[in-house]
């Protein structure tokens, strides 16, 4: 059982190694990297490649660790007790299972994605230490210990908005997805747009890397933005010549809104292009 990338996901060698280490040792893999470098995609692709179901748990700033395990709906039990319903006698009826519980009790090994763990409260990772380490937890309401039937393959992504506690990090493998170099980027685009004209791709990549290297940008365009942009270029059927920077009148690449997402960046970009034009 080895992950070697997939038809629509290009994984570098060190990433493959990280995934395989996590799968073999059944430890969680923590993935960090610039936004838009395919952190979340990875879990989906691994699940597809290994033929395992994928469970996703998306973290928000208000998410509590307990919600991933289970939630006890005390209010509806109180209400039912007033209505004299029969099911009120069994507390199990009021416990809704969270994503981790479902992953633990699944009959086959699953891939579990804990997405953007850094969005949650600072204590969130600490509350999951035992769950990730031993893959079990205790349910107070029903007085039972839930133990994973098969240790799930866990992927955790982070955008680095918060530092994660050391104790948590020690339990994970860690991989930092670097921004792909030109060759890898070419492969990625090839995988997503197999029929793309070579000329258009070459020009587009050039413009893209030029923009990325522009100093002072607040948010550099990333892989997913490049893919969106190329999609637009293809949809609008823009000829490769339009992207050539030799054309003085059309120095601003078409549809650049897909690449720059911040009005200050767009402003800066236009200013630089204007300066470049004047200096000619």
């Amino acid at each position: 059982m080895k992950f070697t990338g997939s038809q629509n996901y290009i994984a570098t060698d060190d990433l493959k190694l990280a995934v395989n280490a996590a799968v073999t040792l059944q430890r969680p893999l923590l993935i960090k990297g610039e936004p838009g470098t395919g952190k979340t995609m990875l879990a989906e692709e691994v699940a597809a490649a290994l033929g395992k179901p994928l469970l996703q748990w998306h973290i928000k700033s208000t998410t509590k660790a307990q919600q991933g395990l289970y939630e006890y709906d005390a209010v509806s039990r109180l209400r039912d007790s007033q209505l004299g319903e029969e099911k009120v006698k069994d507390i199990k009826n009021y416990i809704s299972k969270g994503t981790m519980w479902r992953a633990f009790e699944a009959d086959e090994q699953v891939v579990l994605l804990i997405d953007e763990i850094d969005k949650a409260d600072i204590e969130f990772p600490n509350d999951l230490l035992r769950e990730l380490d031993r893959m079990e937890f205790y349910c107070y309401e029903t007085r039972e210990t839930v133990v994973a039937k098969h240790r799930p393959i866990i992927f955790i992504t982070s955008n680095n908005e918060k530092e994660l506690p050391d104790a948590f990090l020690r339990r994970c493998f860690f991989h930092y997805i670097r921004f792909p170099d030109r060759n890898t980027m070419q492969q990625i685009v090839d995988v997503h747009f197999p029929g793309l004209k070579k000329a258009l791709l070459k020009e587009a990549m050039e413009v893209f890397f030029d923009i990325r290297e522009m100093p002072g940008l607040k948010k550099k365009p990333s892989t997913s933005e490049l893919l969106d942009w190329i999609k637009l270029l293809v949809a609008e059927d823009i000829p490769p010549e339009a992207l050539k920077s030799g054309d003085t009148n059309k120095l601003i690449p078409p549809m650049y809104g897909a690449l720059l997402k911040n009005e200050q960046d767009v402003h800066l970009f236009e200013k630089l292009v204007f300066l470049a034009k004047r200096n000619r």
């Binding site: 060698d13 395989n20 040792l25 209010v75 109180l78 020690r170 493998f173």
Partner: protein, 391 residues
């Protein structure tokens, strides 16, 4: 052997733990990798390093530890001479030789000599203690032992097509203390978070609901509480113009990070030092002034004060009435700073000049004393410490 490797990482200041080391051993035992040094590099990094800020340190530690081993592997097949000798040279230096090298002189002298030698030198050079090349004791070149050495492209060996991964040191930028992006600043500022429940009640208060329901003889009575918010209040004073021009970019980043991070943020500008008036809009600084007294009265002592400035000026600007470079100030800067720090007990000064330069400027020393030593450099680490002092 791996224990030595582990210990050498620890010596290089990497926060590695036994648990992680055991994880690495387990991975080796289960055969995740097959005998390639590159794979081992990646695997050990996955297991042992949990922060990209430490990648560069790891690369250096790894290179230091595996210098000998790697070259052996490259040599074994056939052509021995050059590779072998090259790496051998750097392992054969004695401790004394290393000490001698240290005695060559300071940084300026190094740069000067480098220039000279570059002009003199023709062709490739190996060993020896004068010419630029590899593995020598000369301060110039790579793989050498001169601690003050200047690194000139430490590249992979000639027989191999690729440069060694860890020698590329691609993660140099992520090392802390150096880079200070908006994201990093935000991270540092976040330590100041203080959550409190204020405002509209919209979250279900479970305990309260159960209690009031019980009091209500079992009839359901819902209780709600307000959601949690970050309620830290920050007063930010920014030095602007003059000697601060060099740091405009970094201050901008700090400012934009502050603005998104704190809901209650009030900011004002001053020039060189704080006197009786400050301003909010730099373009209208002469027409739209705020009295510092008004600011002191308006914002209560639950605000935390952050002053950003290089504190580099003539001491008179702090000590003397009328010392300001721009106008006549009736009261000295000391008095004004004291008024501020008396009211805002939680106050820090963030200084963008490098910490190593501080002792050489008298005014920095003075301000530091006035701030009771709560002056911090504008680095990720400095900000982190500053936020701790503010809590």
């Amino acid at each position: 052997m791996l224990i030595d490797f582990f210990l050498s990482l620890k010596q290089h200041g990497l926060p590695v733990s036994v648990k992680e080391y055991l994880m690495l051993c387990e991975a080796m035992e289960k055969g995740v990798i097959h005998g390639s040094v590159d794979d081992f590099y990646h695997l050990s990094r996955i297991c042992l390093v949990k922060d990209e800020a430490n990648f560069d340190r790891f690369d250096r530690a790894f290179a230091a530890y595996f210098k000998g081993v790697e070259s052996l592997a490259a040599v074994l097949p056939a052509d021995i001479p050059e590779e072998w000798l090259k790496k051998l040279a750097e392992r054969l230096l004695t401790e004394e030789e290393k000490a001698q090298v240290e005695a060559l002189g300071g940084w300026d002298k190094l740069m000067e000599t480098l220039k000279q030698r570059l002009e003199e030198q023709k062709g490739r050079h190996q060993g020896g203690s004068k010419w630029i090349g590899t593995a020598g004791t000369s301060p110039f070149g790579a793989y050498g032992y001169n601690p003050e050495g200047i690194r000139i492209g430490q590249e992979g060996s000639r027989n191999r097509s690729a440069v060694k991964v860890w020698d590329r040191r691609e993660f140099r930028d992520y090392d802390d203390n150096v880079e200070l992006g908006i994201r990093n600043i935000q991270l540092a500022l976040r330590r100041l978070r203080k959550f409190a429940r204020e405002g509209a009640e919209e979250e279900l208060d479970m305990d309260g609901t159960i209690r009031s329901t019980a009091n209500n003889a079992g009839y359901l009575e819902l209780k709600l509480v307000p959601e949690r918010h970050n309620k830290v209040k920050v007063l930010l004073f920014l030095d602007i113009g003059g000697s601060m021009d060099d740091y405009v970019h970094r201050c901008e980043e700090l400012f934009s990070a502050c603005k998104t991070e704190f809901k209650h943020l009030e900011y004002f500008y001053f020039h060189n030092f704080i006197y009786e008036s400050i301003w909010r809009n730099n373009r209208l600084r002469h027409s739209e002034k705020f009295s510092t007294f008004d600011v002191l009265h308006k914002y209560g002592n639950d605000y935390k004060l952050i002053i950003v400035g290089d504190a580099t000026m003539s001491p008179y600007e702090i000590l003397q009435p009328g010392g300001s470079v721009e106008h006549w100030n009736d009261e000295t800067g000391i008095i004004w700073l004291k008024r501020l720090t008396d009211l805002y007990r939680r106050a820090i000064w963030i200084n963008p000049t490098p910490e190593a330069h501080w002792p050489w400027t008298q005014s920095i020393k003075m301000v530091r004393e006035l701030m009771e030593d709560r002056m911090f450099p504008m680095t990720v680490k400095g900000l982190g410490e500053g936020m701790k002092a503010l809590r």
